[in-house]
């Protein structure tokens, strides 16, 4: 008989997570791997609870600040770049490849160089996040703006619509699914960029905490920070997906 | 009375959706003799496409039974490959696979049935030539027009020379002149091969022109409301359209389908 699919969709993943934790527990106990290499889930749990008030909360706040500010700059910036360049065919043909190259170049490589320029400064992390997310959002939005069905362009021409009005009435809504692909990718890259910037630049943040904890072989604290970083990444992705399901209702 | 070649006995079908269940077909009984050309006509949503999908064993009925050439379909007994190859299905949208050439599309059923393709190569070429499509054998579906892909869809349905040909509004999307040429081609194929043809269409004129018998159906829920014998003689040609009796059959069927008020359109 067909299990009610709603229930299956919720508890199946939970069951799998529980199985993974049990597996993790079994590996640790069976191979009695040393604490410094792979702590038991229980130990990570306790480390998370103990240190939550103190270090982990502070680092989380620092990382969240960097991620959100960086992301909230990258989204409009990417959108505007795509919007302006979509109006001129020459601009599209020249800017798109450059954006793709920027998208493919990991911005973490610039961290050591910028450190020379600015010294060790937290705003550097925000710059890295912006540089990593903007190209992805711009590329996806632009490819959404370029492809507008011919019939819809004709509709706007038939109504004698001005360029920018038809851009906002037809081109943007039509490109919404593509824009959200860029936004979801952006938030994945945002987490990665923020964490690697933390590790290279230091000055607080979850990435930095992981680096320090692992060098002091306080691996339970390090894993606790990793779990929080993972939750941050997933949370940001979920928020963007929920917003998408609200806006893109017609697909 | 002796069972006919294909018989559908008091079949009903209820589609379950999350919110509610739709009674698509209610107590349908139909029979088709061997080598007969029968059309099924009715408004969209009367379940005619569901019926031929049941004969082709794609959809299972909720109640009632379907017997084809003496074999009654049974939910847990899969059809033997010999029975499967008796059935040929032709879709409204030709849906040729763009990743195969025209000829590969035509040979697809043989590949699925595990036949030796070389054996049928000659037959494929002669069928393609029959409709003037041999020169397009190695072309890709993207390069041919709507009318041409419809012809390929028909040939694909009959490449394994099935005994029964089920056609779901094959020429619905074509303009008048192409549809008429393809109708004549279909009649020629039907005469040469003697296959049993079940022809679904919206177009009353097309049904009257082509078939020996017309089942008329109504929607909400799908029910058979008439089984009309069309005797306009063996030779069916396009100039039949102007004739008096042809017009009468069309009006009779159109009135049967009835004045559909505005709110009821699907």
């Amino acid at each position: 008989m067909k299990i009610n699919s709603k229930a299956v969709n919720i508890c199946a993943p939970i069951i799998v997570i529980i199985l993974l934790i049990i597996l993790w527990q079994i590996i640790c106990t069976v191979t009695n791997i040393s604490f410094h290499v792979l702590p038991k889930p229980g130990e990570v749990g306790t480390a998370l609870v103990e240190n939550f008030r103190g270090t982990i909360l502070l680092d989380t706040m620092a990382s969240v600040k960097v991620m959100l500010i960086g992301y909230c700059i990258a989204v409009p910036l990417g959108f505007v770049i795509a919007a302006i360049s979509s109006q001129f065919t020459l601009a599209v043909r020249s800017i798109m490849p450059v954006l793709i190259i920027l998208m493919l170049t990991p911005m973490a490589t610039l961290v050591p160089i910028f450190k020379l320029f600015w010294g060790v400064d937290p705003t550097l992390k925000i710059l890295i996040v912006v540089l990593q997310c903007t190209p992805v959002i711009a590329v996806n939005s632009l490819s959404g703006f370029i492809y507008v069905p011919e019939a819809k362009k004709e509709l706007m021409r038939a109504l004698g619509c001005r360029k920018w009005e038809s851009f906002f009435r037809v081109t943007v809504p039509n490109a919404m699914p593509q824009i959200f692909t860029g936004l979801k990718l952006g938030c994945i890259l945002c987490t990665i960029a923020a964490m690697s910037a933390d590790i290279s630049v230091g000055q607080g943040g979850l990435g930095y905490r992981i680096q320090v904890a692992s060098s002091l072989s306080a691996t339970d604290l390090a894993y606790a920070a990793i779990v929080v970083a993972a939750i941050l990444g997933v949370a940001l992705y979920m928020i963007v997906s929920v917003i998408e399901s609200r806006i893109v209702t017609w697909k | 009375m002796e069972k006919s070649y294909i018989s559908i006995e008091n079949v009903s079908k209820v589609f379950q959706t999350r919110k509610h269940s739709i009674a698509a077909l209610k107590d349908i009984s139909m029979r088709f003799e061997k080598g007969e050309f029968v059309s099924i006509v009715g408004p969209s949503g009367c379940g005619k496409s569901t019926i031929i999908r049941m004969v082709d064993d794609i959809i299972k009925p909720t109640e009632g039974s379907i017997t084809v050439d003496g074999f009654t379909y049974d939910n847990n007994v899969p059809l033997s490959s010999e029975q499967i190859q008796k059935l040929g299905f032709i879709f409204q949208i030709p849906n040729l696979y763009p990743w195969f050439t025209v000829k590969e599309n035509v040979m697809l059923p043989l590949k699925i049935y595990g036949k030796d393709l070389k054996e049928y190569d000659e037959r494929a070429n002669s069928l393609l030539d029959g409709v003037g499509m041999l020169e397009y054998a190695n072309a890709y579906p993207a390069e041919i027009s709507g009318g041409m892909s419809q012809r390929i869809g028909v040939i694909r349905g009959m490449i394994h020379s099935p005994d029964i040909l089920m056609m779901d509004e094959p020429y619905g999307a074509l303009d008048e002149s192409t549809r008429e040429t393809l109708n004549m081609e279909l009649l020629k194929i039907w005469k040469d091969t003697g296959t049993t043809i079940i022809f679904i269409t919206h177009n009353v004129e097309e049904a009257v022109l082509l078939s020996e018998r017309v089942y008329v159906m109504e929607s909400h829920p799908g029910r058979v409301i008439a089984d009309i014998k069309i005797d306009l003689g063996e030779e069916r040609t396009l100039d039949l359209i102007g004739e008096e009796r042809f017009g009468e059959y069309c009006t009779e069927i159109e009135n049967l389908i009835g004045k559909i008020e505005l709110a009821k359109i699907k």
Binding site: E154, C161, R169, M176 | S145, D175, S177, G242, T251
Partner: protein
């Protein structure tokens, strides 16, 4: 009655693979006010191009348009576009807008801000096509017939002087098509708008049209014209048995078939 809309010597050619393809080669036609004219022709004869030129969607290479006494420049001007209601080949609705917002679109684009007035106009147009209680559905939730009726409502909302339809029912099944034909005739009869419709279906052209023009294959011109002297009452009740209609239909079928064989389709 004065000629309301006249085209003289309309020419149009497109760039094919490296050379120019002439599609329209001097189209002349004139439409009187409140008249329903159907234009027929084989696929590829340029009838869609012609109506897109009349709608001001694509520029014409040569020839003159005189619309209600004014002759627009190369590009049909914005004021004239306000006077035209256009129904496209596909229903061409904006999937993300509700039926109400789709129908309201022309009013918004023409800058009519007054909410209450817009609401009245939109609901009136929706009542005309019988979709008043579907106003908050989105196109995905509607059937093909209902979507096309929404686009007819959208064309009527700005109370245009002329209605232009480019094979509006081409993609619909025969029975929905017949019903929408009946409805379009009723709307034309009640609103007395001038209508120009492109179609490839002979029955539809004779059922709706006061005059049926037939275009030759490209480079095309208007080669035949059939007057359809049937009143609204005659058209509405069982036209299929009307002798004039049957005679005209066989004649129109003969004309369309007599056009030299079109490209292999």
């Amino acid at each position: 009655m004065s000629d309301f809309y006249t085209l003289t010597g309309i020419k149009k050619s497109f760039e094919g693979k490296g050379e120019l393809i002439h599609v329209l080669d001097g189209i002349d036609l004139s439409i009187r006010e409140k008249e329903f004219v159907c234009i027929m022709g084989n696929s590829g004869c340029g009838k869609s191009t012609l109506i897109k030129i009349m709608e001001g969607i694509i520029p014409r290479d040569g020839g003159e348009i005189i619309f209600d006494g004014i002759s627009p420049g190369k590009q049909v001007s914005k004021e004239l576009q306000k006077k035209m209601g256009i129904v496209f080949q596909g229903d061409n609705l904006l999937e993300w807008l509700t039926v109400y917002k789709n129908v309201e679109l022309p009013l918004k684009v023409f800058g009519q801000k007054d909410k209450a007035e817009n609401k009245a106009k939109v609901m009136e147009a929706l009542e005309l096509v019988g979709l008043q209680n579907y106003w908050d559905c989105i196109p995905r939730e509607l059937s093909g017939g209902m979507r096309q009726r929404t686009s007819i409502a959208r064309a009527l909302v700005s109370d245009p002087d002329i209605l232009m339809l480019d094979q509006p029912f081409g993609a619909l099944d025969a029975i929905t098509r017949k019903t929408l034909n009946q409805e379009l005739l009723r709307i034309w009869h009640t609103t007395q708008k001038t209508c120009v419709m492109i179609t490839n279906n002979e029955n539809e052209a004779l059922y709706l049209g006061g005059r049926v023009l037939v275009m030759s294959n490209s480079p095309s011109r208007i080669v035949h014209e059939i007057e359809v002297p049937l009143t609204y009452e005659e058209r509405v009740n069982n036209l299929a048995l009307n002798p004039i209609y049957l005679k005209l239909r066989t004649e129109l079928a003969r004309i369309v078939r007599s056009l030299d064989t079109p490209r292999q389709n």
